[in-house]
């Protein structure tokens, strides 16, 4: 098994184009498990860890750019002021050791259905910045995820960054866990409120065939909630049920489908309730 270790991004893109069979590896928290436990043996690995400048958050026209090499720990701690919505999500990932290694780009690249970032990026209407020797393209998160561990990433592309819109309203992320820590989500949901329009966007993770938005539930809510007042409990419950009805949940070792349907409804309802916990004027 060859290991390519590019020192620049341009070299990484060139190698990616030349050797699409080389599996990119960043923090290794996903790829190494595949090698060790699943005995995956790709012909080659493309190690991105030596490419400088891939981490960090910076303002860009229209929003904020989070480098693909940014670790969960960096998001949770160093960049918490720039990405207050992502910081607690990143802090909830796995274990300290995994947060220190795992990266934004790795999370998107492996697209493990349980990844904590996916529903949040969906709810924030983030774009994924994909790069190749052909040039950069921005893909909305909604279009990036394409089913179980499948994404819009082309064989010659690498994940360069995610871009968050400039205007990001309050967001709530909730997940259920089979134990209290250090375990993948049983199911997860993020609900973000655009305060200007009063509209919410919902991202669902660890549920069906891949991370998805919940357009029907979003539309349902748009006609019944102004985004300013505290939502009625009944509305939260109905919203939750509609979020859970977005797609068919799957059953696996973490939970059965019926459990996921019920739990996601509860989580989504709680997220909505917490978006506006106090009556307008009190806040």
């Amino acid at each position: 098994m060859e290991v390519f270790r590019p020192r620049t991004w341009a070299e990484a893109l060139r190698l990616r184009a030349e050797r699409p069979d080389a599996l990119p590896i960043a923090g290794g928290t996903g790829v190494m498990v595949a090698l060790e436990i699943d005995h995956l043996r790709p012909p080659a690995l493309l190690d991105l860890s030596r490419v400088p400048g891939r981490d960090g958050c910076a303002g860009v026209p229209g929003g904020l750019r989070v480098g693909g090499g940014t670790t969960y720990t960096a998001l949770a701690e160093r960049w918490a002021g720039q990405v207050p919505q992502l910081a607690p999500v990143a802090a909830s990932v796995g274990t300290r050791q995994v947060r220190n290694r795992g990266t934004v780009g790795g999370s998107l690249g492996t697209a493990a259905p349980t990844g904590d970032l996916h529903p949040v990026l969906l709810a924030l209407r983030a774009d994924v910045e994909l790069d190749s020797t052909r040039g950069v393209r921005l893909v909305p998160a909604q279009a990036f995820y394409r089913g179980p561990e499948t994404t819009a990433l082309a064989p010659d592309e690498l994940i360069a960054a995610v871009r968050l819109p400039a205007r990001v309203g309050p967001l709530r992320y909730r997940k259920t866990l089979r134990r209290r820590a250090a375990v993948r989500a049983t199911c997860s949901v993020a609900v973000a409120l655009d305060e200007a329009t009063g509209l919410v966007a919902v991202g669902i993770g660890a549920y069906g065939d891949g991370p998805v938005r919940a357009p029907a539930a979003e539309e349902f809510l748009a006609s019944r909630w102004d985004g300013r007042t505290a939502p009625e409990p009944a509305l939260c419950a109905e919203f939750g049920r509609r979020v859970a009805a977005t797609t068919a949940p799957r059953g696996d070792l973490r939970a059965g489908a019926a459990y996921r349907r019920q739990a996601l409804a509860v989580l989504a309802g709680r997220c909505l309730r917490e978006l506006r916990p106090e009556p307008t004027g009190v806040r």
């Binding site: 270790r5 923090g27 498990v33 030596r50 274990t95 300290r96 250090a182």
Partner: protein, 924 residues
């Protein structure tokens, strides 16, 4: 590919065997840095934690090539330049945070990293930050305490919220001699374990050794039509391949019933059964070659339901049918099968899932040919001698040609009572003439040892209007899996412990172990008593509810006490303080109620009590052997204790040391862990070593002492009797120094060897199960406080308190560690731990999906010790190791029952069970 890196200040240059190698393998196998432990290979357990360029990482998740040019810090570099331990290492040793020690290197690195970032963490922060480091022994309480202790020493006072959440006996039950019985000296192997220097079986290496890997059956039940090993031989680096045809001696093994193939010959009976083994120059070559062996299977329908397996007409999986054992107890009217009248009757059917011991140090060992046709195996085991006997039989060698040596054990809990890689490694070593090392991966480990029996239990309890039990009917069906292992004894325990620590006149109890095509089940801490405890305590709750009575009150009304009679007819002839244990727990304060209660969350408190036989029962002649010698070295008297008791983390080496110190009055005591050439100590299991080996050490010490004192008497003409030994001197009755021990001994060596047998027990009557079957019973109880999210079905254990009668606390710190660790294992069974099967196939052989409790899952656990001496036991001690793992499961279940009002008739409790949702479908 060559990788150059600096590890703990030393430069290393390593040629990788293949590109995908992990930093973990690089550090262990190339750099020889075995302080970095390998326990899961997927970032779930933190045992392989290192700092990579100053950042805490799991080295198994780092590609070795990524570490090229990096600075790596392992546990070996944590000590100061002068060799003195890091404050965290020191605190771990002092606080009793080290048992088997396998998690310790990673844990201390993570703790040191935390304190670097946050010098004064709260206990809650410690738990959150170290949740990525699993420990299977301690239940985490002592670890949290150690981190706070180290934090305090770094200049910041530790947070007080979790300091010493334990209590002990108010007064020691006997005289405490410094570092002797009743004291808690720092465990001798603690500093090495905290420093990563301790050598585990997986750390053994010899020049020129081969690595061996096992090929296992993908089918739970299949006929083997053919095996073609030629493709494996063609792999570069392969040196040997063995199948059943190559086993020179007895093709089967088994410690109670010889029924399990060393390698499957014509039939595989469970998913994961070993079929062939490959030895090669390096592990990747062995793994690749094993994968190329072509086995033609004819799959057969698996028989996976134990109740169906024992029905008449079921397909027999073994020549003598599917009932491995059926132990039957009939007492009172049950002998005529007449049900006595009862005011209240409750019935229940209870289920327990398959729990795994999940020790962190997987099966491993090193076999070396002795050059004269024999073989030495260094292996992590619980009992050298049964290993040795079975090995010799299957290797076809006379006993003296096979030596089993104890190697460092990374946890046991019953899973090392049976053979795993023993015969395979030895056979390969004999055939190739080279040392052969084997270490199971975590997935393989799930196939490589027996598990706790799943059980289906039908119960009927009848009581009078005041809640006094009249009768109990219990039918306990245990899924023994494909081979017998310890099933016969476990079925016996299930029957004899079927009603729990309660007085009942009329008892029907059936303990039945069945053969199925599920993974074999055998010994695990509690040994057949955990399953019935969940059932009988659930029945007690059900009765209390039916009667409208407080569940503790109902238990108190029925609690056994000294003089009470068990369903076997055996009379409890020493303390049985069941009521007092429950009262102690009831007296503990409860966690404060939440200030802002969440309407979706309900809280509940649950109690459970249990009893367990200590040591071997039912007529087994159970003994241990110890040799004690006393001599003078460098002017000081030195005692040497030798026994074959295996140290599995529980601290049996220190117990022996403490006994010798107390009995011989010498400070310097060496304890030698003998190999199988020394007489047997019996296994480190059944809560027996402190009692039995402790008893043997005591008797050998008494013989040595008597001889020394006789010499003194011969010279001092019998004044000042009785003479004693203390502080390296002979003292008279008034405590005056008669002579220095060194002077008395001179150049002589006083040495005695003693065999200690606990009092004889009786086999159970085959018809009615009557008989004094156990040498001793111990008693424990738990109280759990839980919160349940009624919308999500999630359970949080807020508090878990243990009360136990320990007879005499020989080493209070180690003992509390046993209680906290056992309680955590019970919590795991209540809420998390289950090997999931789909028609015999294991679905979750990994720490990703077999979930152990993390530091956040196990709450601070209080311990209440009673010391009611057993007059029949050395020092009055009771076997302690298993009891805490028994009633904790039932207590957590009781708390969830109290919180939700649901029956809770299955453990582990799944979220689905609390939401009226169907349990998950089989994903297969």
């Amino acid at each position: 590919m060559r990788v150059e890196l600096t590890v703990d200040g030393r430069e290393h240059s390593c040629e990788l065997r293949w590109g995908g190698e992990s930093l973990l393998h690089l550090l262990r196998d190339h750099c020889g840095l075995t302080g970095v432990k390998n326990a899961c290979q997927q970032g779930e357990c933190g045992s392989c934690t290192v700092r990579l360029d100053g950042v805490l990482v799991d080295s198994c998740l780092v590609l070795a090539a990524q570490a090229d040019g990096a600075r790596v810090a392992t546990v070996a570099g944590l000590a100061a330049a002068d060799g003195s331990p890091h404050p965290v290492q020191q605190a771990f040793v002092e606080a009793g945070a080290v048992q088997c020690g396998f998690c310790t290197p990673g844990m201390v690195l993570a703790a040191a990293d935390l304190l670097r970032r946050n010098p004064c963490p709260t206990a809650a922060e410690v738990r959150r930050e170290l949740a990525g480091n699993l420990c299977r022994c301690t239940g985490y309480a002592a670890i949290v305490e150690a981190v706070l202790l180290a934090s305090g020493r770094q200049g910041s006072p530790p947070a007080e919220d979790e300091r010493r959440a334990r209590s002990g006996p108010d007064e020691p039950a006997g005289p405490v001699r410094a570092d002797g019985i009743g004291d808690s000296p720092v465990r001798t192997d603690g500093p090495d374990k905290a420093a990563g220097r301790f050598e585990y079986s997986s750390d053994l290496a010899r020049p020129g050794m081969l690595w061996a890997t096992t090929l296992r059956s993908p089918h739970p039940h299949a006929r083997i039509r053919s095996i073609d090993t030629a493709p494996a031989w063609a792999v570069d680096g392969v040196r040997d391949v063995i199948t059943a045809a190559d086993v020179p001696g007895r093709p089967l093994y088994g410690q109670m019933k010889v029924d399990q193939p060393v390698l499957a010959a014509d039939l595989v009976r469970y998913h994961g059964e070993a079929v062939a083994v490959v030895a090669a120059e390096h592990p990747e070559a062995a793994r690749v070659a094993a994968g190329r062996i072509v086995v033609e299977y004819e799959p057969l329908p698996p028989l996976t339901d134990p109740e169906r397996a024992i029905e008449p007409g079921a397909v027999p999986l073994h020549p003598d049918g599917n009932v491995v054992a059926h132990k039957r107890i009939r007492r009172g009217w049950a002998t005529q099968d007449r049900t006595p009248p009862a005011a209240v009757v409750v019935r229940g059917r209870y289920t327990v899932g398959m729990q795994d011991q999940a020790f962190l140090g997987t099966e491993s060992g090193l076999a070396e040919p002795d050059g004269a046709g024999g073989v030495r195996l260094s292996v992590a085991t619980q009992w050298l001698h049964v290993d040795q006997e079975q090995l010799a039989a299957s290797l076809g060698l006379p006993g003296e040609k096979v030596v089993v040596r104890p190697a460092g054990v990374g946890g046991a809990f019953g899973a090392r009572e049976d053979l795993s890689m023993h015969v395979h490694a030895c056979l390969l070593a004999l055939r190739t003439g080279r040392p052969v090392k084997m270490q199971y991966s975590r997935p393989e480990s799930f196939f490589g040892h027996v598990h706790r029996h799943p059980a289906v239990m039908d119960y009927e309890h009848g009581c009078d209007p005041d809640g006094r039990l009249v009768y109990v009917k219990a039918r306990i069906v245990l899924d023994g899996g494909a081979y017998a292992s310890s099933s016969p004894a476990i079925a016996g325990n299930a029957a004899t412990h079927a009603v729990g620590p309660y007085a009942v006149e009329h008892v029907w109890a059936d303990g039945i172990a069945a053969y199925t095509n599920n993974p074999p089940c055998g010994a695990m801490r509690g040994f057949g008593t955990v399953q019935p405890c969940f059932a009988y305590e659930s029945q007690m709750d059900r009765l209390a509810r039916e009667l409208g009575m407080d569940p503790v009150e109902l238990r108190l009304r029925n609690a056994l006490s000294e003089g009470g009679r068990l369903p076997t007819g055996q009379v409890l002839d020493s303390a049985a303080p069941v009521a007092e244990l429950l009262e102690r727990l009831r007296g503990l304060h409860l966690p404060p109620a939440p200030t802002e209660p969440d309407p979706a969350v309900v809280r509940g408190v649950g109690y459970a009590a249990c009893l367990k036989n200590a040591m071997f029962s039912e007529g087994f002649d159970d003994y241990s052997t110890a040799r004690v010698s006393l001599r003078v070295r460098d002017g000081r008297p030195v005692a040497t204790v030798t026994s074959a008791a295996t140290e599995v983390g529980q601290g049996v080496l220190d117990v022996q040391r403490q006994i010798a110190r107390s009995e011989l009055g010498v400070a310097d005591v060496e304890v030698v862990e003998a190999d199988s050439r020394f007489p047997s100590a019996g296994p480190s299991s059944a809560s027996r070593q402190t009692y039995v080996t402790g008893g043997a050490v005591r008797e050998a010490c008494l013989a040595v002492r008597a001889e020394v004192l006789d010499r003194v008497r011969a010279e001092t003409a019998g004044t000042g009797e009785p003479l004693t030994l203390a502080n390296g001197a002979v003292l008279d009755a008034d405590g005056r120094r008669v002579a220095g021990l060194a002077d008395v001994l001179g150049g002589a060596v006083v040495e005695h060897t003693r065999e200690f047998h606990h009092r004889a027990t009786e086999a159970l009557d085959p018809v009615n199960g009557q008989g004094d079957s156990a040498a001793q019973f111990g008693f424990a109880a738990h109280r759990a406080v839980v919160e349940v999210d009624t919308e999500l079905g999630t359970v949080t254990v807020l508090d878990l308190a243990t009360a136990q009668d320990v007879g005499r606390a020989v080493n209070p710190q180690a003992l509390v560690g046993q209680l906290q660790g056992g309680s955590a294992q019970g919590l795991g069974l209540a809420l998390l731990e289950e090997i999931r099967l789909d028609r015999g196939r294991v679905l979750n052989p990994s720490f990703e999906n077999y979930l152990l409790p993390t530091m956040l899952d196990v709450p601070p656990s209080r311990v209440e010790l009673l010391e009611r001496a057993d007059p029949h036991a050395p020092y009055g001690i009771r076997g302690v190791g298993e009891l805490p793992a028994i009633s904790s499961t039932a207590a957590v279940a009781a708390a969830v029952r109290a919180a939700t009002g649901r029956p809770i008739d299955r453990v582990p409790i799944r979220p689905e069970d609390l939401l009226d949702l169907p349990p998950e479908p089989d994903p297969g």
